[in-house]
């Protein structure tokens, strides 16, 4: 047989495939670009689900079942709006948030702000190591072993690794949050009820026969407080500093910025997805069994064992351990960076200890003090956590206002300032956040009995 016609056919096919091939090439190029910029947003949003976050979510599920799920959608939105502004500032100005505050508002403002950041973050580091301790106790490991080992791991990881490598590890760690999906599945929840509860109440009431699945929760002060605590634990002051610096360190410019926005969006959504599964998991087990009182996130993991099986309990604890170590690696580092850069001390992992002494000392001290306090017998952990949360609450409004002021400065941002509509949304979100955190603050200072057995927010 003559090979000519076959070759012709092949050639024709080749021509037909060509546009698809080029489209594929185009797409693979785009995906490479997106992956190159990916990281800061996803990492920051996921670190939000730290030990404190997981505790608050478990508590919400244990006490109110599925009833707080609706708040996740507006929270995800608020998270996206605030993080988006910071990442945009990073991409446009090429400077960290503390640098910008220093350059625009002067030394003294920066000093007091950063002093508060240091204290608040120390409290948060403490909470992360408490998370490590309680997660490992589920596996029967004493905190006198787990906390020092965890602290050493964290210290080595950052001091010995380069930023790119550390970031890859962090991104990989984000996938461990899938553990919560599995433990939620093992808890055999009613998925239909869970999904319906994601809808805001006015929409929900229009769903036919909704009473069959959803029992409305009375708007008690405890319930409202829980919602406020959820918000407080999701949007933290430190994350804005970290995100902006990470965007700068990634060398994202205004051109690649839209990919970073995608990154932030994916991060915000995945953060809420994790929160959803945690709440669902404890709602289907602890709430049904009437075990509303849990002291910390490790407690929730332990309480799961008889209700959903040892495997679900272990997965829950692994998720907690992962989240705590993850946040414990990022928080001290980000704090040391932010403070040194804002106050003009040498900073950076590419410097030697002798070149950037304050940076390394701060970083080490945060880990040693944070981890060490946990090991003190009889340390008033809950009190410290409440105090750190109070400070978080004081700090957040200030930082949000700084962000909004900076992002609207034309000499800094040029054409990239907020549009008017965006400003309305951003200010509304921030004011809502501020009101909620201040309310929470008021309650935790003046009406402490209200939060007993409810949330130690952020813990």
């Amino acid at each position: 047989m003559n090979a000519g016609p076959i070759n012709e056919t092949l050639e024709r096919w080749g021509k037909r495939i060509e546009p698809w091939r080029s489209r594929l090439r185009h797409w693979s190029r785009r995906i490479v670009v997106i992956l190159a910029v990916m990281g800061p947003g996803v990492i920051t949003a996921n670190v939000d689900n730290d030990a404190g976050g997981i505790y608050t979510y478990s508590l919400a599920g244990a006490q109110f079942g599925y009833a707080t799920l609706w708040s996740l959608i507006p929270m995800g939105f608020a998270l996206f709006v605030t993080m988006e502004m910071c990442s945009r500032m990073g991409a446009v100005t090429g400077k960290g948030l503390s640098d910008l505050i220093r350059e625009e508002f002067g030394f003294r403002v920066t000093f007091f702000l950063l002093g508060t950041v240091l204290l608040v973050n120390l409290g948060n580091v403490l909470a992360e190591f408490a998370g490590v301790a309680s997660a490992m106790e589920v596996f029967g490991v004493s905190k006198y072993v787990s906390v020092p080992v965890g602290a050493a791991l964290v210290w080595l990881l950052v001091v010995r690794g380069s930023y790119e490598r550390v970031e890859k590890i962090f991104l990989a760690v984000c996938f461990v949050y899938v553990a919560y999906v599995f433990s939620a599945v093992l808890a055999k929840p009613n998925w239909l009820v869970a999904a319906l509860n994601l809808l805001p109440t006015p929409v929900l009431q229009k769903v036919p026969h909704m009473q069959r699945w959803v029992t409305p929760v009375p708007l008690t002060s405890g319930y409202l407080l829980m919602v406020a605590a959820l918000v407080g634990t999701t949007i933290a002051p430190w994350q804005h500093f970290y995100l902006q610096s990470a965007v700068v360190e990634k060398r994202v410019g205004p051109r690649q910025y839209r990919h970073t926005r995608t990154d932030v969006l994916i991060g915000s959504v995945s953060c809420m997805v994790t929160a959803f599964f945690i709440i669902v998991c404890t709602a289907a087990t602890l709430h049904v069994a009437g075990q509303g009182k849990i002291e910390d996130a490790g407690d929730a993991a332990q309480a799961l064992a008889p209700l959903a099986g040892r495997f679900a309990s272990a997965l829950f604890a692994i998720g907690l351990l992962n989240a705590s170590l993850f946040a414990a690696s990022i928080l001290p580092l980000s704090t040391a960076y932010v403070i040194c850069e804002g106050l003009g001390f040498e900073a950076g992992l590419d410097r030697k200890v002798s070149e950037a002494p304050i940076f390394y000392w701060l970083y080490t001290a945060l880990i040693v003090v944070g981890g060490g306090l946990i090991l003190l017998p009889g340390a008033p952990l809950v009190k410290i956590a409440v105090l750190s949360q109070v400070a978080n609450g004081v700090l957040l409004p200030i930082i949000l206002i700084f962000i909004l002021l900076l992002v609207n400065r034309r000499e800094l941002m040029g054409e990239h300032t907020n549009s008017r509509t965006y400003n309305v949304v951003a200010w509304a979100t921030s004011v809502a956040m501020i009101v909620l955190t201040l309310a929470l603050l008021y309650i935790s200072i003046f009406l402490p009995e209200k939060i007993q057995g409810i949330a130690v927010p952020g813990m």
């Binding site: 090429g94 220093r102 350059e103 030394f107 000093f111 380069s162 060398r251 003009g344």
Partner: protein
């Protein structure tokens, strides 16, 4: 000695002892003097602010200034772009320490008083980037000046002389008005300059690159990390970018162009001289992680019968890049690669020796399609400085030098 923080906020009195206002800002007028505080802005609440010239100041102490003129003699304030503001443009901002080769943040500024007949001039002497300046900024107005001075004496000073300071001004128009030149920066080693640039923001980087001559700009850009290289070039106009890329080694240029968007890459290539553009285009054909992607098309090759002296003369009269000159490649009559002579051997050989006798054994080369791993292994095995790349017929088409290998290996760490 005085500090800027002690003068900013000071109360100013005129010659009759009447209170005029508080010092809100100090200006340097670079067109007159690069280090003199030439104007003081005196704020007067709701009244229009006044300006005191340097020769109207009779006495300066922390918190107090006395003028030798009457309030009526002071001019009203009009903003001037060509004045450098100490508080707004210097304090808390980043500047480049050209002596220490790094970016620092200004905490305070040390001023020296210089008495002339009837007036006191303040001269900028040093920039404070250490703890004493930080403490002063923090406590100013809260504790008495003498207390602050006593505290800061105990702290380790970190100062940089004003002459070594290079200001960063992203706006090119204002940079000209303020007479900021980057001659001090251009004298730094490109690798140091690249380190400094990585610490700055995008607009600041752009402004520094724009002020360098093409050769220095090319060397500095080559030292930056890949993403920054692309970012900087994307923002330039293609003509200027082409001028700079032309100065780069062809392999570095090809790597850079491969990272640009296809449109920019095309525009830049169009602006380059035909021959250089052709060279770079050829290099762009190869996959980045192949020998072809690593190689440089600029290399020295001579006929194997040539003598040492002939070769040295040839090299001298041609404008070769020093980095490309560690090895001379030999070709036979068919123009195929027949050997490689390290420059060190050439140096030690007697004048009339033909290069054929200086060849390093064995003859090692790769084809452009070879993977980078193979290249690394050859460099390691034969302790090479350069490796020839040949086409299928054995004609040399380029060379890979050890610095290319080190760069690649380091990026894998």
């Amino acid at each position: 000695m005085l500090h800027a923080t002690e003068v900013l906020g000071a109360e100013a009195y005129d010659v009759n002892g009447n209170f005029v206002g508080r010092v809100r800002e100090m200006y340097i007028v670079p067109a007159e003097q690069l280090n003199r505080v030439a104007r003081l802005l005196l704020g007067r609440g709701k009244y229009r602010p006044l300006v005191a010239r340097y020769d109207q100041v009779a006495f300066v102490a922390p918190g107090t200034i006395k003028l030798n003129a009457d309030e009526m003699a002071l001019e009203p304030f009009r903003p001037n772009e060509a004045w450098l503001a100490v508080r707004k443009d210097l304090l808390d901002q980043q500047v480049i320490d050209t002596n220490g080769r790094k970016v620092v943040r200004v905490n305070d500024i040390d001023l020296l008083e210089q008495r002339t007949n009837g007036s006191v001039e303040m001269r900028l002497s040093r920039v404070d980037v250490g703890l004493p300046g930080a403490v002063r900024r923090l406590l100013q107005g809260l504790a008495s000046p003498s207390v602050i001075r006593r505290i800061q004496e105990k702290l380790p000073p970190r100062n940089i002389r004003w002459e070594f300071i290079n200001l960063i001004e992203p706006d090119p128009m204002r940079r000209v008005k303020l007479r900021i030149d980057h001659t001090k920066l251009a004298k730094l080693h490109p690798a140091d300059l690249a380190d400094i640039m990585e610490k700055l923001s995008a607009t600041e980087r752009q402004s520094i690159i724009a002020s360098l001559d093409e050769e220095t700009a090319a060397e500095t850009i080559s030292e930056l990390d890949k993403r920054l290289q692309a970012q900087i070039v994307e923002k330039m106009d293609p003509e200027k970018a082409a001028d700079i890329i032309e100065e780069m080694a062809p392999d570095a240029a090809a790597d850079l162009l491969a990272d640009l968007s296809p449109e920019t890459s095309r525009e830049v290539l169009q602006e380059m001289p035909r021959e250089e553009a052709q060279e770079v285009r050829e290099l762009l054909q190869f996959a980045e992680d192949s020998a072809g992607g690593m190689m440089n098309t600029e290399f020295v090759f001579v006929g194997e019968a040539a003598t040492r002296d002939e070769v040295l003369d040839w090299v001298r009269t041609h404008d070769y890049n020093v980095e490309q000159l560690d090895t001379v490649f030999l070709t036979n009559q068919e123009m195929a690669l027949s050997g490689a002579v390290p420059i060190a051997r050439l140096l030690m050989a007697a004048p009339g020796v033909p290069l054929r006798e200086l060849k390093a054994e064995p003859l090692v080369y790769v084809e452009p399609e070879a993977g980078e791993k193979e290249v690394f292994e050859l460099f390691d095995k034969y302790n090479l400085r350069s490796l020839a790349v040949t086409d299928k017929e054995g004609h040399p088409v380029g060379s890979i030098t050890v610095d290319d290998v080190v760069t690649r290996l380091r990026s894998r760490l």
